[in-house]
């Protein structure tokens, strides 16, 4: 363990020191040798390391993964692979697991952002009416799950969904209520295909509602008070004020929050992997099926699942770039 810590300290020193030395050296070389337009070259020196890292870990792999989908599955570092054209794609498209994964992914992308935003909005509006002390306290508690890992959350929610035979004491809260209060037979919440997807989604809603609440609460507080007062003087009820005055003014924040959560659940993996036991009982999603294929060494097939993920993110990529351009135009 000591050796591990030593290595970490060395890594931090080398990482930070090395990065500093790199920039310092680059800067000094520019001073020494660049005669014409030194600051343009200097800018290149400043930007290059970041470009290199993003290029190596995201941009190059994006195209490399796409390229590898046209090669056979038995590829280990490029050895022993054969060009197979679209075979991997036709294999995936004729696999029932692909369609159930895609369908589950779509369910996640519809339900999780909707519920997280709705609950986050409710929490933002309700807490806003409390005294500041209580507002901060209650918001912290709703926000707290944001700090918990998806794996940790899976452990937490096992205590909700646990199932035991009717003859034994129930250890899961949901069955405790269902059996103890309603007198039903214990239900294996994570095994029933009718609702186990939703049982897993609830965990993500629990984790993300606080995020939605914080952003929406900030947006609500920036709604000008005079627009609210004017509506009230005109005789609008509080419900009308909420739907007709507040919601339209925070609509853009709602969109930002919903898309952020959408992009997150598009790649959902941990919860399905741990709480859903790797996508059993029909809970598989794209990222889990990717992992299964990847673990089996089917890199071509796994790559096709990555391509599906990439295709789903492209609209958001375009949206982000467009939003950035608008922002720049306003500068």
């Amino acid at each position: 363990m000591g050796a591990v810590l030593v290595r970490a300290v060395v890594a931090i020193t080398l990482g930070v020191g090395g990065a500093y030395a790199l920039f310092w050296l680059g800067n000094a070389l520019v001073d020494r040798f660049a005669k014409k337009d030194p600051d343009k070259i200097r800018a290149g020196v400043f930007v290059a390391p970041a470009m290199f890292v993003v290029g190596l870990f995201l941009v190059f792999p994006l195209f490399e993964t796409i390229r590898l989908t046209f090669y056979s599955n038995n590829q280990v570092r490029g050895e022993g692979r054969a060009f197979v054209g679209l075979d991997n794609y036709t294999a995936v498209l004729s696999d029932q697991v692909f369609f159930s994964s895609l369908w589950n992914n779509i369910l996640w992308m519809i339900f999780v952002p909707s519920f997280a935003v709705a609950i986050g909005l409710a929490a933002a509006v309700l807490s806003d009416k409390l005294k500041p002390r209580w507002e901060n306290f209650s918001k912290s508690l709703v926000f707290l799950p944001m700090a918990i890992s998806f794996v940790g959350a899976s452990v937490v929610w096992q205590l909700i969904y646990n199932w035991r035979p009717p003859s034994e004491g129930q250890t899961g809260l949901l069955n405790g209520i269902w059996v103890g209060v309603f007198g039903g037979d214990p239900i294996a919440w994570l095994d029933r295909t009718a609702f186990n997807d939703f049982a897993l989604m609830a965990v993500m809603v629990w984790l993300q509602a606080g995020f939605a609440m914080v952003l929406l609460s900030a947006a609500i507080k920036s709604v000008p008070e005079d627009t609210l007062e004017a509506a009230r003087i005109d005789g609008a009820s509080e419900i009308q004020v909420f739907w007709r005055i507040i919601v339209p003014q925070i609509a853009s924040t709602i969109v930002v929050v919903a898309t952020t959560i959408l992009i997150l659940v598009l790649k959902v993996f941990d919860i399905v992997s741990v709480l859903g036991r790797g996508g059993q009982f029909g809970t598989e999603v794209i990222a889990n099926t990717f992992y299964t294929q990847f673990e089996s060494g089917n890199y071509g097939t796994a790559g096709v699942y990555v391509v599906v993920l990439v295709l789903m993110t492209i609209p958001f990529m375009i949206l982000n770039i467009r939003r950035f351009r608008e922002q720049e135009a306003m500068r």
Binding site: A8, A50, V155
Partner: protein
């Protein structure tokens, strides 16, 4: 609303004594409705975590026999034993104590290394003129949403050839790469919004870009650097997928827990204590630096 407008809104909210405009006043029936509604929500949202905390103190026999909510009937059997036991419990080849150290060793360099690289790039994108500046920056904006699953096959191929597959170094570099678009984006938003006069007057005084960066930009950007650092630290601490695929020098907290869940039933009493131990660090970071964390979240709410 743009991401930076959201950021501004969040900053407003941070000011504690911001004038409250109260939706319909805080008196009367509205207030009663808000209080009971929020109370119910907070209760439902806290129950899962309370259940974990209570369970972690219950004895092995109690955990398998009854639900945590019956704890009042067996208060006498509450124990710290689970916490003592789980630290030396082995799952997937590591004890929890080792996994905990490994997680630190992964998370701290993976947080520190990208910051300086991103800050230099953010400064250049904000305050230096060079051809293709906007186009290059758009690469970072686009990279924000690239799913990191793209990286595994090609990067493991490269790592295999270089001989760093499964190592700490490999995970540090990967996290640096995956966090870089957000770091550059977030820091540029902040550094770019610093007042122009400050930078111009430093230039007139004869300061070079390198000096401006170190003596002016870095000290002024501490809040933004801190929010990225917290964001990246929580992300790498809580990460499961990257560690699962790219790391094999032992377990980290998340992969350890996942291994322990695999033996569920036998180790139910240890699992809750283990989960709570791994949650302490992010929760402490989170509560002590919540303000910076919120700003990082809001400014980075376009991350993929």
């Amino acid at each position: 609303m743009s991401a930076s407008a959201v950021d501004t809104a969040a900053r407003d909210q941070e000011q504690k004594n911001v004038a409250k405009f109260g939706l319909g006043g805080t008196e009367g029936s509205h207030s009663w409705f808000a209080r009971s509604g929020m109370f119910a929500l907070v209760l439902v949202w806290s129950l899962p975590t309370i259940g974990l905390l209570v369970s972690s103190f219950r004895s092995q026999s109690a955990v398998v026999a009854s639900g945590w909510w019956t704890v009042l009937s067996d208060l006498g059997t509450l124990t710290f034993q689970n916490y003592a036991d789980v630290l030396s419990e082995t799952a997937g080849g590591s004890t929890l104590a080792e996994a905990f150290v490994n997680t630190f060793v992964v998370a701290v360099p993976a947080t520190v290394i990208p910051i300086l690289i991103a800050a230099f790039a953010a400064y250049a994108f904000s305050w230096m003129e060079f051809p293709g500046r906007e186009t290059l920056f758009i690469v970072f904006v686009a990279a924000l949403v690239i799913p990191l699953q793209v990286a595994f096959i090609p990067i493991l191929n490269i790592y295999g050839s270089v001989g760093i597959a499964g190592s700490f170094l490999g995970v540090w570099l990967a996290h640096a790469g995956f966090g870089m678009p957000l770091a550059v984006y977030l820091l540029r938003n902040y550094i770019g919004s610093l007042p122009r006069e400050v930078i111009e007057s430093a230039k007139i005084d004869g300061a070079s870009h390198f000096q401006i960066f170190w003596q002016l930009i870095i000290p002024l950007s501490v809040p933004a650097l801190a929010s990225f650092a917290i964001f990246q630290f929580l992300w790498t601490w809580n990460d499961f997928l990257v560690a699962l695929i790219m790391f094999n020098e032992g377990q980290v907290a998340t992969t350890y827990l996942a291994q322990l869940i695999g033996s569920f039933g036998q180790q139910a009493h240890l699992l809750t204590a283990g989960a709570f131990i791994t949650m302490t660090v992010p929760i402490i970071v989170f509560f002590s630096l919540q303000r910076y964390f919120v700003r990082g979240l809001t400014a980075g709410s376009v991350k993929g």
